[in-house]
């Protein structure tokens, strides 16, 4: 076992996959000479050269589309979009093309590609650079959307994404890149796409999150354990397909649920989870399902405003306690 950062886990996996398969290559803005805006691809240009680590012009639609075309001919491009905000320039290619080509042409050609991109807020980047719009992609059949929360998960899921024959949107998070976790030495685990995980067992309440919010959910559960509250944490890991079964089984056991999401609440990922819970665990629910989500404003720059707008350990803790109170357990 070694403890490495999420960033390192991604980089190690990219390097290993490129060594494993000549068809795997990287494309994106500033990933080569500049070594990545967030240094995920540090050292890879030197190791693999320009053919396999390809700096692109600032043309998200053009280079994401080019990756799709290359994938149609059997290459396995791994594209980096600097942050998910800029994926909006490429959304036509992602939704109207990558997600459609396999089905629309009757299953003749698959599109084996990965789009890696970080979401995130809390970096004082203002309204256009702090969005969490993974929902747009999670909405679309034909895409697979992954959102790992730990270094080990990131490695196993990136491996799976690269080896998968479908287009995968691989959601990272600015707030996770420096987080650390154990990754077994020489680990070759290929995650199963489409599975959530119970990352902490508990009996009082289910707390559901993904990406950074799954990490924060773990911190909340840890803190509440000291107060005698047993929180079960579900890490969604895959936003499409969505593993409703794992969620519902947990809620049937605990009787209540709180969802923590970094996106906006209205029509958000949490709305889909809540709807699934009411349909799958209606008879088991002792309290309404609560959602903790971003305030519905374009993200402000000023720190106090930004902090107030984002879900936090405190706001999630409050929602958990209020839900338990509603159930009839006095937890203060």
């Amino acid at each position: 076992m070694s403890v490495i950062t999420y960033r390192q886990a991604l980089r190690d996996t990219l390097r290993a996959e490129m060594h494993r398969d000549e068809n795997v290559f990287l494309m994106g803005e500033e990933i080569g000479v500049f070594e990545g805006s967030y240094k995920i691809t540090e050292g890879l240009l030197k190791e693999f050269g320009e053919r396999r680590v390809r700096d692109t012009p600032i043309a998200e639609e053009g280079f994401v589309g080019a990756a799709i075309g290359a994938a149609m001919l059997g290459l396995r491009p791994v594209v980096e979009i600097m942050t998910i905000n800029f994926s909006l320039i490429a959304i036509d290619q992602i939704i109207n093309h990558a997600a459609k080509i396999y089905g629309m042409f009757g299953g003749q050609t698959s599109v084996p590609m990965v789009i890696r991109t970080p979401g995130g807020g809390g970096q004082q980047l203002g309204a256009t650079h702090s969005q969490n719009i993974e929902l747009f992609y999670s909405f679309v059949p034909g895409l697979k959307v992954l959102a790992p929360s730990t270094p080990a998960e990131a490695a196993a899921m990136l491996r799976a994404a690269i080896r998968d024959d479908d287009p995968v949107l691989f959601l990272e998070n600015l707030g996770l890149y420096n987080s650390k976790g154990e990754v077994p030495e020489g680990d070759e685990t290929v995650a199963e796409i489409g599975r959530a995980a119970v990352t902490r067992e508990g009996t009082d309440i289910t707390l559901i999150g993904y990406s950074r919010m799954a990490m924060v959910a773990g911190q909340v559960a840890e803190a509440l354990a000291a107060e005698g509250i047993s929180v079960e944490v579900v890490d969604l890991r895959s936003l499409r397909p969505l593993d409703r079964q794992t969620i519902v089984e947990s809620v049937c056991k605990t009787g209540s649920a709180v969802i923590a999401e970094d996106d906006w609440l209205t029509y958000g990922i949490g709305a889909e989870i809540a709807a699934s819970i009411q349909e799958g665990a209606f008879d088991y629910l002792d309290a309404p399902v609560r959602r903790v989500a971003m305030a519905e404003v374009p993200m402000p720059y000023a720190k106090p405003l930004e902090s107030a707008a984002l879900p936090s350990v405190e706001s999630i803790t409050t929602a958990v306690k209020e839900t338990l109170n509603a159930v009839g357990r006095r937890v203060g």
Binding site: P57, G62, A70, M72, M104, G106, E192, R195, P241, R244
Partner: protein, 422 residues
């Protein structure tokens, strides 16, 4: 009037040059020596080409016998320049004629079936573009790839797909090219390397660029042809794709079919530079304009660029001018057209013209004409009958093509199913 900075203005004012449009990539050197300078370029839109200054300096002399010539302001009409018919094999010419006629009759039949509600969705026909299509497809090798827009039936047939599979796709049958999943706008066939008709304007450009990237990555010698309409040169994907293709030296030919209209919008109202072949200059992509009504001119221009793309590993831009014989799609009565415009389109029918040329040259006899007409009619009737008699796709196959790699928890619920089935 707009005043351009001198450096930008200058190349535009130079006499247009002609890298290879009159050259015959498919003809022997002797033939070239005797061929008229602009054998391929006829009609009111005399073929000329614009080569950006730097490209001129950087680009080696065109291969395949191509030469750079000034048009010298000469204008040629179809009548005084019957192409170089004498240099061509009659058999080959008759085959072009046959293919053009096949597309014409196929599209007429398609329009008819659409009106009878045998075909659904949008339906854009290639009527008037037959010479362009046959010329372009003749210039491609089997191993070359093709991407097109939604006006794709003729291209699909031209690239080698069977009229049966195209018609069955139009009918939405399981025997169709895309098993009934694509329809009119989305013909596709891996075998003949027709990599798709695309319904989103400009969507095919980044994809074609990426296909060329894959070829370049592997060191292959295929080229990619990417067809689009005049209206498409104004979307972001155009700029991003041409830039990337040039930057990375990718073997892709961007072909603009300029029918002077995008739906109802004239090209002058949509493109600030309506001479579209010039628009490659911003990317140092050499552009050529050719008369799309002339199958030989299109073939020669395209073949030259295709082979240059192959040998030079460079992108090129080819503009083929043509007339849309009917509305934008089958349901469009094209009321925005004046009587004169309708007449102009009709008088520019590429098939009538080619037929007359062949007849005059004694190549198309009355007998051969009848024979070809019959065999084409039969082929189209056979395609329609095949489509008509083919089964609809089974509803049980509804979830077969969402993902290529099976995945846990993939939703397979029908509209009224509960999320959690027993």
């Amino acid at each position: 009037m707009r005043v351009l900075p001198r450096q930008l203005d200058q190349p535009l004012l130079r006499p247009a040059v002609e890298p290879g449009v009159g050259a015959h990539a498919l003809a022997s050197p002797e033939q070239q020596a005797t061929a008229p300078a602009f054998s391929g370029s006829t009609g009111p839109e005399e073929a000329d080409s614009y080569v950006e200054r730097h490209t001129m300096a950087d680009t080696a002399k065109p291969k395949g016998g191509g030469t750079t010539r000034s048009t010298g302001g000469r204008r040629r009409s179809r009548k005084d320049s019957p192409s170089n018919i004498a240099d061509e094999q009659p058999k080959v010419l008759l085959e072009y004629y046959r293919q053009m006629l096949l597309i014409r009759r196929f599209e007429e039949r398609t329009g008819q079936a659409y009106t009878q509600a045998r075909i659904g969705g949008y339906c854009h026909l290639n009527l008037g573009e037959e010479a362009t299509i046959v010329g372009l497809m003749t210039a491609l090798q089997e191993r070359d790839y093709l991407f097109t827009n939604y006006r794709d039936h003729g291209y699909a047939i031209g690239k080698g797909m069977s009229p049966r599979s195209v018609m069955a796709e139009l009918y939405g049958r399981s025997t169709g090219a895309a098993k009934g999943w694509g329809g009119s706008m989305h013909m596709y066939d891996t075998e003949t390397r027709m990599l798709g008709g695309y319904g989103i304007v400009g969507g095919q450009l980044p994809l074609a660029t990426g296909a060329a990237l894959a070829i370049s990555y592997r060191g292959g010698d295929e080229v990619v042809m990417c067809q689009m309409g005049d209206g498409t040169t104004n979307i972001g994907a155009w700029h991003e794709s041409l830039n990337i293709a040039s930057l990375w030296n990718l073997p892709v030919i961007f072909v603009v079919i300029n029918n002077y209209t995008g739906m109802g919008t004239p090209v002058e109202a949509s493109s600030a530079e309506p001479e579209l072949y010039k628009r490659g200059s911003a990317f140092r992509i050499e552009g050529v304009r050719v008369d799309g009504r002339d199958v030989l001119a299109v073939r020669d221009a395209a073949a030259n660029l295709v082979e240059r793309a192959r040998s030079e590993q460079r992108p090129f831009l080819l503009e083929a001018t043509s007339y849309r014989m009917k509305g934008h799609s089958v349901v469009d009565p094209a009321k925005y057209r004046t009587k004169e415009q309708v007449e102009e389109a009709r008088s520019n029918d590429p098939i009538t013209a080619f037929e007359a040329t062949l007849e005059k040259a004694g190549i198309l006899t009355e007998e051969a004409k009848q024979e070809i007409a019959d065999s084409v009619r039969e082929e189209v009737a056979d395609a329609a009958e095949f489509a008509e008699n083919s089964p609809h796709p089974e509803v049980s196959t509804l979830f077969d093509y969402t993902y290529a790699t099976p995945v846990a928890n993939e939703s397979r619920r029908m509209p009224a199913d509960p999320v959690f089935a027993e």
